[in-house]
Point group: C2
Chain length 172, copies 2
Amino acid sequence: MANAIDFKVFRDLSYGLYIVTSKDGNRLNGQIVNTVIQVTSEPPRVAVIINKKNMTHELISNSQVFASSIIDESVTMKFIGLFGFKSGRDINKFESVKYKIGITGSPMVLEYALSALEARVVSQIDLGTHTIFIADVVNTEIFKEGSPLTYRFYHEHLRGKTPPNAPGYKSS
Amino acid sequence: MANAIDFKVFRDLSYGLYIVTSKDGNRLNGQIVNTVIQVTSEPPRVAVIINKKNMTHELISNSQVFASSIIDESVTMKFIGLFGFKSGRDINKFESVKYKIGITGSPMVLEYALSALEARVVSQIDLGTHTIFIADVVNTEIFKEGSPLTYRFYHEHLRGKTPPNAPGYKSS
């Protein structure tokens, strides 16, 4: 069926980079995500896509809530490394970052964050390796003005790599 | 439930801008979309979100196929106007643009296009005002090198407006 897929096309798609977090009981975790999008305006609703292997997937599946911080171009590779290349199953990512607990109980990361939102899942779809969570936005916070970090900026200026569990990862 | 939604947060989310097209029998149509995202790599799969009022929604719903051209920063407001602010129910948008019919029968717009993909819908979710279509990518074409147009660039450099049927539209 698929006869001529050149993965270079996917590099022309544009994304931001976000720290999506959740909680389950006392457990907190979060990870970098490039797919947070607004899907409707009335009601204010977003979608996020998470790899099933990730601990954040487990937390969102259980609690049905998450937060997303929108990070800016001043972000460091150390911070990216913490949320993008380490697992919450090995370390507690929230020991070393500033955050506040939101109305859903999810931790909103404050470092390098322009703003944040919290959302409650209303439906989810199994995409095979990933799940897409559709969620109503129930809280927003604005922290500062700045330039939102894009995936392109990350690759071109921070010389960032794509984590293996990201939707856009292609081993080759 | 929603107690403090500041829509300014949504402006910090990053998007590209794409011409999503489809066909149904002899009818062709297309529109500007800011939400084309890759959702999994294996299989190569994308999601697109379309307002139910739009003719392109009707075509994709019927034919279960679509194409998406990734446009670049050289795009003109006249071209944006054709695909973003006019309805295929009033005019034939394809009378005045260069395109090629792909393997799905969808028209791939060639003007201002860096690349294009074609996809077949595998599932769809009703989001209220919009539908999200999840689709397997079955064809890709690369036309040229360049800088993909982002929603931010459109607003800041082309002084673009948000069409009423877009996910991010907010009348106020």
